[in-house]
Subunit: 317 residues, 3 copies
């Protein structure tokens, strides 16, 4: 979609000599010269100054911080405008045409499975009844997709992956901009989920697709049942997520992180490799030092948590 | 079903000159002149005195509190008797006859979708594979029902609604009466779920049907993944429920309430408009004052919670 | 599979005159004379000394504790070797041959239901669209299986059972052995789930199959929505599990235990009959005394918890 056309629909003034074909939205850090981005929260100003985006939605006072090769798209509510723009790049919910699915050798597709257009299934794959594999999905060799699993369009699943029944891969991330008069405007989630090799995911989990780019599950991750992974999370190699854990958006786990049962993260943070979060722990800040054990909410080192419990025992005696 | 017949089966003595055709059960407040109700907990005595119900299951000592136009059905265990009576009004699990579903213009029903009898689907609706739409359901225009969603019979979904994969709408509320000898007698959940317009519901959520009347999701509500909403809840317009939140039965949220991740309510309470419950907060009493922030369990104002965390930091030093 | 053959593949030296046909793995306590077991954690030494297993994976220093009728299979990492051995006994993900399902009288199987081989369905059963009933499953009389439920192979469901939509019965327990170089080796979950009579299970729950033997749900249990029950749990008769509760592996609940909303257990413990765990309570040790109320994390008697809340109220004033 041409930039001038986008701006016209969104009611934004721009004057440019050469129009640009915009193919999508992205974060300031990842946007390329044919993508749009936005700055709402000024704590990301340094990212604005280094962006490679074609153009950026910004408020008037930030317009002069936009780098030379990027166009400032001045508006009052950049996040709200981004939400409106996201709809322009949303793919179809379900294609009605495309290439027939490509199926590898010795793969078994049981009855009542739907496989979308432009989708590729590897060798020795088993897909059980009731599973839904959307359009433009890739599933690697030897993977097992159990009944009633839903894999939304554009997602990628590696080799030797097991996904248990009822799990949903690639549902929309929980994103919207709320206007001053109380409308919630959906931010279309145009990214996907990519899952590495040798991953096992339990039953009735939800892994949301990214707003832009990918939610990433690296190789050898183990996920228990009823775990929620929000949009744009990245789960490092070999990490373990125990039942009913919930990760908020843009959480990055290093390699071999353990999140015990019913633990959680608030979003936009990262956790160092080999960290263990004990059951019910809530991570609300980035953890930089690797290999430590943390517990509680607010989070504290496990030994402090044990000390606190000792104090509490005294209080109630 | 005639009242005399019901009483005969339930072993309750009544003497009435004109029999009444009873069409169902309801709460004391909502019951009409052809419905039954009950009083178990005496804190609802004032509701008994104002009920419009045809007849009410009550213990002997409450019989004289029943208003003139209502018949007292005296029994030892009103709640247990109500449970037994609920079965008489339970609709069929799945109809075998009825009107063929009515389908609006430009709607897409993908393969392996089941649509029940007496069901109406609006215009421009997309229903993806594996979805189950029960009998006597209504779905408004432009709505999207993702794969493997289940909508139980009698539920109503508005216009421009998105329901993500694996979500269950209208499953039975968690209701039963336990007898003295330890039997759990199911209270059939004969109500439904009604969802307004412009609502988005995430993946693998559960929204239970009401015991009587409706569980209500008002316009423009946003619900994340793995959220549980129990029977007879009412979620006010524009409210936001973040992942893994659980609302117990008969919780009423005002407009624009925010329940952050893994928060919860115990049942039979209401929360004032524009309230924010922070992550993991548990609401166990009605919140009357609007626009405040609350946290913790037991719940306290957010600033008190922050103060408490300061004190705890000192304790463990 | 012959024991000598197993040992050869696993690179374990044994010298036996008569080979043994091994049919599977089991715990030290339950293993019979044609099953293998293992000892990793020395706190189970007394179980080793009383095992009836054909042979046991043990470290060198434990070899002389193995009873006379049991063969010591000496290895450095017994748990890791057990994981490798578990694969030998894993049944097929989905059979391609077997007996056609046997269907009782007056049972209704709606469209788009899959029923596997060697499966038996009782009388007056209703199975709604999108449900998956695996191979070698038994479902008793009068049971209702709602849409998009998945019942994995080998599971047993009693009479008068209701399973609500989206629930998964018999998914693999969360079991793996992690090697020194960071590989997670899957422990194949070769047990099943057995559900008694008059049980009701809510929507989008997950009940994992046992690693060996059975995960057991006894008669008259009531389970709300989004509840997780891990492998090898046993839920006593009449127990009640409220929404979003999570039980870790090998939790045993006595009769009529109540686990309120969002409560949890860490694994390998038991809870005495008629115990009530209040909302959010976390049980991390065995509870021996019946009929008590517990709350909090760490868990304390409910009256202590109330006292603690009083102290906290003073702290923040």
């Amino acid at each position: 979609m041409q930039l001038q056309n986008i701006c016209q629909v969104l009611n934004i003034d721009i004057k440019i000599s050469n129009d640009i074909d915009i193919i999508g939205l992205n974060s300031l850090q990842e946007a390329t010269s044919n993508q749009l981005s936005f700055l709402e929260n000024k704590k990301y100003l340094s990212q604005l100054q280094e962006t490679k985006a074609a153009a950026v939605f910004v408020t008037q006072d930030m317009a002069n911080k936009v780098p030379n090769n990027t166009i400032a798209l001045v508006c009052d509510q950049p996040y709200e405008v981004l939400a409106k723009a996201s709809k322009f790049f949303a793919p179809q919910v379900a294609q009605t045409t495309g290439k027939k699915p490509k199926l590898g050798k010795n793969s078994t597709i049981m009855p009542n499975v739907y496989i979308g257009f432009d989708t590729t299934i590897g060798d020795n794959v088993t897909i059980l009844s009731g599973a839904f594999i959307g359009d433009n999905v890739t599933i690697g060799d030897n993977s097992i997709i159990y009944p009633n699993v839903t894999i939304y369009r554009d997602c990628v699943v590696g080799d030797n992956v097991i996904i248990h029944a009822g799990t949903v891969i690639g549902s929309d991330g929980f994103g919207f901009a709320t206007t001053k008069d109380g409308q919630h405007i959906k931010i279309y989630q145009n990214g996907n989920v990519t899952i590495g090799n040798n991953v096992e995911i339990g039953a009735n989990c939800t892994i949301d697709r990214a707003a832009f780019s990918s939610t990433i599950i690296e190789d050898m991750v183990r996920i228990d049942n009823l775990v929620h992974i929000a949009h744009n999370c990245k789960i490092g190699k070999g990490s373990i997520l125990v039942t009913q854990t919930g990760l908020s958006g843009s959480t990055t786990l290093g390699e071999y992180v353990v999140m015990a049962g019913q633990s959680a993260t608030t979003g936009h943070l990262s956790i160092a490799p080999f960290t263990t979060i004990l059951g019910r722990g809530v991570v609300s800040k980035t953890i930089k030092e690797p290999k430590k054990h943390w517990a509680g909410f607010p989070l504290m080192e496990h030994r402090s948590w044990l000390k606190l419990q000792g104090k509490i025992q005294k209080l109630i005696k």
